[in-house]
């Protein structure tokens, strides 16, 4: 990324690798490892919302956990406000954590049913050290007002709220320490369509008011398109394509990104009856994400345009130079656009 040297970056993820050790098949067999994250690099600037898309099992949530320092990476580093999180001492890390908050997918599972809303929302305040009871209730009331709930709701319990309101409580809890970055792992996928829009609007308003940055994880591409300025597409622990939201959605280059985009059902009935057998999704063979060539491209086993080279040498995520056929509104977007593929779409079209 070109802004690497500027001070504007809030979160820097550099070549992060996270491996899990799988259980042995037999007593003396070698230990198998599963690479959930394989050399992921990403930068989130102050006040920027970055989307991460990909199928289940591609490492999206592992990335979220690693960013929040809930798990340490085997190699690579994650720096947040210039501090490398996983090397910090527990006490310092705890203080840093107030700048990082998370919103979870399921508002029914993420709120303790036995705690009152006041206790739930005030819980992260313990990170800020001692504070008076009065100050605490003031901050809770303010957080609740910010998310569109009443300060009188503090005595209620989670079961008294609907799904959308619960997600608002979860947002209030994330917001109360005034974090600089909120990691939102599928924040609206458990909500109804009309409520989704309310929560998304709220999240964007808060971004404007408090200069929050979001790491927005979702599988709904329409929502990512709406919410973010930059997107990274993950597949099997690697980022296969990244760029500004507009470039990526309009000029997707990686075959996997194109398949993802084609798979989104369009709300236009005239596009009915997709030409079955002709698009990327239906010729994308198999559905097994575990079937991966050891040295080759992670996507090679499902790729519709695979070559011998792809199976033996893994392509590097590198800047994509748009051919003359693709038009960009301005040149800066080109710098952000990176693809890990030997046969990006534009070059396929040319031949």
């Amino acid at each position: 990324m070109n802004q690497e040297n500027t001070d504007n970056s809030l979160l820097k993820i550099r070549n992060v690798v996270r491996e899990y050790i799988l259980p042995r098949q037999r007593l003396f067999s070698s230990v198998k490892r599963f690479r959930a994250l394989d050399g992921v690099s990403l930068t989130v600037n102050f006040g920027e919302s970055v989307g991460i898309v990909g199928e289940s099992g591609c490492g999206k949530s592992t990335l979220a956990r690693t960013v929040l320092a809930l798990e340490a990476p085997q190699s690579g580093k994650i720096s947040f406000k210039g501090e490398i999180l996983h090397t910090l001492k527990a006490k310092k890390l705890r203080r840093m954590r107030s700048g990082l908050q998370m919103i979870f997918q399921d508002p029914y599972g993420s709120l303790d049913p036995r705690q009152s809303v006041e206790n739930i929302v005030a819980e992260p305040l313990s990170l800020l050290g001692e504070m008076t009871f009065k100050k605490r209730s003031e901050m809770v009331a303010e957080a609740l007002t910010n998310v569109g709930l009443s300060p009188n709701d503090t005595v209620k319990f989670p079961h008294e709220f609907s799904g959308g309101q619960r997600q608002r409580i979860a947002i209030a809890r994330a917001l109360i320490t005034r974090p600089a970055l909120i990691v939102a792992d599928e924040p609206v996928s458990a909500l109804d369509v009309s409520v989704q829009a309310q929560v998304l609007n709220l999240m964007m308003d808060l971004r404007d008011n408090y200069g929050l940055a979001y790491l927005f994880i979702s599988h709904d591409l329409n929502i990512v398109r709406h919410m973010t300025t930059k997107v990274a597409v993950m597949y099997a622990g690697r980022i296969v394509e990244q760029g500004s939201t507009q470039t990526l959605f309009d000029h997707a280059q990686h075959p996997y990104t194109r398949a993802l985009l084609e798979a989104v059902p369009s709300t236009d009935p005239s596009k009915k009856k997709r030409n079955i057998g002709k698009n990327y999704v239906s010729i994308m063979s198999g559905s097994n994400i575990e079937n991966i060539y050891e040295n080759g491209c992670v996507f090679a086993s499902r790729c519709p345009v695979v070559e011998d080279k792809c199976k033996n040498f893994s392509p590097v995520l590198q800047n994509f130079q748009a051919s003359t056929s693709a038009r960009f509104d301005n040149n800066t977007q080109e710098i952000h656009h990176k693809v890990a593929c030997y046969k990006p779409y534009d070059e396929l079209v040319k031949t």
């Binding site: 109804d192 398109r225 300025t229 369009s266 009935p269 999704v281 994308m284």
Partner: protein, 330 residues
């Protein structure tokens, strides 16, 4: 000739505040070989409608009205219903892992309905089941018939569920959120598969979902449900073009839409009025909160005085397109 006709279907249950209607006067018609999409938010009664048609309602609920499928399904004794379920009408459920029996191999589970309904022998049914599994894309040389559900991925499991549903060659398949638990790419593959099978076997399909995109791409007719009522129904194309009911319009506009291009400009500065998603204020009323008027009245931007006192009649808007609203959009 219509395959399924639902007339005045009402499902009610007892509640502290007296009898409440979970489904209220549902009417629709499904022609042979066509597909019907049902959209609505959770709790609007979509799934209850499917269960009522199949005669699978929980014990504390009663259905009245007519479900004509050859005869009136609501009047049939359980024994005869059993001969229809899984044979002439079958269902595909949302969560494939809880639909499939984890203790039985997939070949056996597909063969089961063939033995029950077609009186096939064990050998015959296994052979036919193998053919059906080939048909849904699980070829026998790659996927042994003795595999157990846990050995398959989510998409493959849903393929097995579809194989079970279509094993006996049903006339009607009811798919209740068939792809909600799946990834987008797998979702597209499964929907293509359903569309292909329905087309080739000349089956009818009722596709229940909350995703408007899925309805737009895969169905001929559609119903929009809100709080136990049908608020708009008609050919999918007409409904999407006109969006006459305020709820349909609200629902549609609250989805981040790929039709409206995101220029990214609004996001770089303030989350401007242009980029803001229109929302439907408020929430769906609980069943016991519903008044005798239109159930959408509290959230409706066009509501007037008589909306809350009287339930709006169904009005026709040309070719089979109808809505229950006093003040529909033109």
């Amino acid at each position: 000739m219509s395959l399924l006709t639902v007339k005045n279907l009402t499902v009610s249950t007892e509640h502290q505040s007296g009898s409440i209607n979970i489904l209220d006067n549902i009417n629709f018609n499904l022609e042979r070989g066509t597909s019907l999409g049902v959209v609505g938010e959770s709790g609007c009664g979509k799934s209850m409608m499917a269960l009522a048609i199949m005669g699978l309602l929980p014990d504390n609920m009663t259905a009245s009205g007519e479900v004509q499928f050859g005869g009136n399904l609501l009047c049939l004794p359980e024994k005869e219903l059993c001969q229809i379920r899984g044979n002439r009408i079958s269902m595909v459920f949302q969560e494939p892992m809880s639909t499939l029996n984890p203790l039985l191999p997939i070949g056996f589970q597909v063969a089961e309905s063939l033995r029950l309904h077609k009186n096939f022998s064990r050998h015959q049914s296994q052979q036919h089941a193998s053919k059906v599994l080939d048909r849904v894309g699980l070829q026998s040389h790659k996927y042994s018939r003795s595999l157990y559900p846990h050995q398959l991925s989510g998409g493959q499991r849903q393929r097995v569920v579809i194989a079970i549903a279509m094993a006996c060659g049903p006339e009607l398949i009811i798919a209740d959120e068939p792809t909600t638990a799946l990834d987008v790419t797998i979702q597209a593959q499964i929907l293509d598969l359903i569309a292909e099978l329905v087309f080739e076997e000349n089956m009818s399909l009722i596709l229940i979902t909350h995703n408007l995109g899925i309805v737009a791409e895969n169905t001929d007719q559609m119903l929009v449900m809100y709080a136990g009522n049908i608020v708009e129904s008609g050919p999918t194309k007409n409904v999407f073009e006109k969006l006459v009911h305020p709820y349909t319009r609200g629902l549609f506009s609250s989805i981040p839409n790929s039709r409206v291009p995101n220029t990214g400009k609004g996001l770089q500065s303030k989350y401007s009025q242009i980029n803001r998603l229109p929302t439907i204020p408020g929430r769906v009323p609980e069943f016991w909160e519903r008044s005798k008027g239109c159930s959408f009245v509290d959230r409706c931007p066009r509501a007037q005085a008589n909306c809350s006192s009287k339930f709006p009649e169904l009005i026709q808007l040309g070719t089979a397109h109808s809505t229950t609203c006093f003040f529909p959009y033109e």
